[in-house]
């Protein structure tokens, strides 16, 4: 089972990387705002169905992949 986790800096947390990216995009002539930089974790879990995969990935997020003080996460399970 394939799964994708997207980890984002929480709303309201200063994200200087996002600001730097936004500034660089503006230098390239793009009109953008609110750029935020997060992380994507792709992984494969063997021998489980989609429901169990989701349960396991949620636990991975709570224990390691995201720090709840500063990050939110979304889990997507692909067939």
């Amino acid at each position: 089972m394939r799964a994708t986790v997207v980890v984002r800096p929480k709303q309201g947390i200063l994200d200087p990387q996002g600001q730097a990216v936004e500034s660089a995009l503006e230098h390239l002539g793009f009109s953008v705002s609110d750029a935020r930089v997060g992380k994507v974790v792709d992984l494969t879990i063997d021998g489980v169905d989609a429901d169990e995969a989701r349960v396991q990935v949620e636990r991975m997020c709570e224990q390691l992949l995201a720090n709840p003080l500063m990050e939110s996460y979304e889990v997507e399970v692909h067939g």
Partner: protein
């Protein structure tokens, strides 16, 4: 009769850089400095533990996030839970925050630049095992060198820490964008402390400052008292 030297451990993770400096500095303030390898599941007989600076396990994912699961960190958590003295410096501070022993988290500096310079630090409380040789309100000069030192906690947690007097050190000038200019915090019981500046790099006037020795000597003195009380 010379008072016995307390045994202070320094954990070396893969990627630790300041472990040797910490060992040297602790010996300079009259401790028996004991190296502890990250794979050790049990700590040797120690009176205090220091988690040093560096980039443990490459600091992949988040600073300190992987080191939190190392066998030695688990042993340090048990040591702290039984009242043992634990000091985290820089990366060690990040590890203690990730492990949940200290409040908050360390984020990328607001400037996105690595800061490497001496900074003034204001001592917020002098009644801890880590600050007994300092005076509340005193300014210490100790170097920082980090890219991810912006301490952050949500406002309600900051208020709680202020009420509980868990903020131990603040930068005397803007450094990295930390909430409340926080440079060091302790746990509620006061036996675990973390700070981003490097006291082990400031233990001799030849190094530009000896103010770091005040913090380390406080720790060693507290460790000695504990060693004697156990005997």
């Amino acid at each position: 009769m010379a008072s016995p030297q307390p045994r202070v451990g320094v954990v070396t993770y893969p990627g630790s850089q300041d472990d040797r400096d910490a060992l040297w500095a602790l010996a300079a303030v009259d401790a028996e400095a004991v190296p502890v390898w990250h794979e050790e599941t049990e700590l040797p007989d120690l009176d205090a533990v220091v988690l040093p600076g560096g980039f443990s396990y490459g600091d992949y994912l988040r600073c300190g996030a992987i080191a939190r699961f190392s066998p030695a960190t688990t042993a340090v958590c048990e040591f702290a839970a039984s009242g043992g003295l634990v000091l985290g410096i820089c990366n060690g501070f990040q590890v203690l925050c990730e492990a949940g022993l200290l409040p908050g988290v360390l984020l990328r500096n607001a400037s996105l630049r690595f800061v490497c310079r001496d900074v003034p630090l204001v001592v917020e409380r002098d009644d801890l095992p880590f600050t007994s040789r300092c005076t509340t309100g005193q300014t210490l000069v100790i170097p920082v060198k980090h890219g991810d030192g912006r301490w952050f906690a949500p406002p309600e947690l900051v208020r709680e820490l202020e009420t509980n007097r868990q903020i131990v050190l603040r930068y005397g000038e803007p450094c990295n964008g930390s909430v409340g200019d926080v440079a060091g915090v302790c746990n509620l019981d006061g036996n675990v402390m973390g700070l981003m500046p490097h006291p082990e790099h400031a233990v001799d006037p030849l190094l530009g400052s000896a103010d770091g020795a005040l913090l380390l000597a406080s720790l060693v003195e507290a460790a000695r008292t504990r060693a004697l009380s156990v005997v």
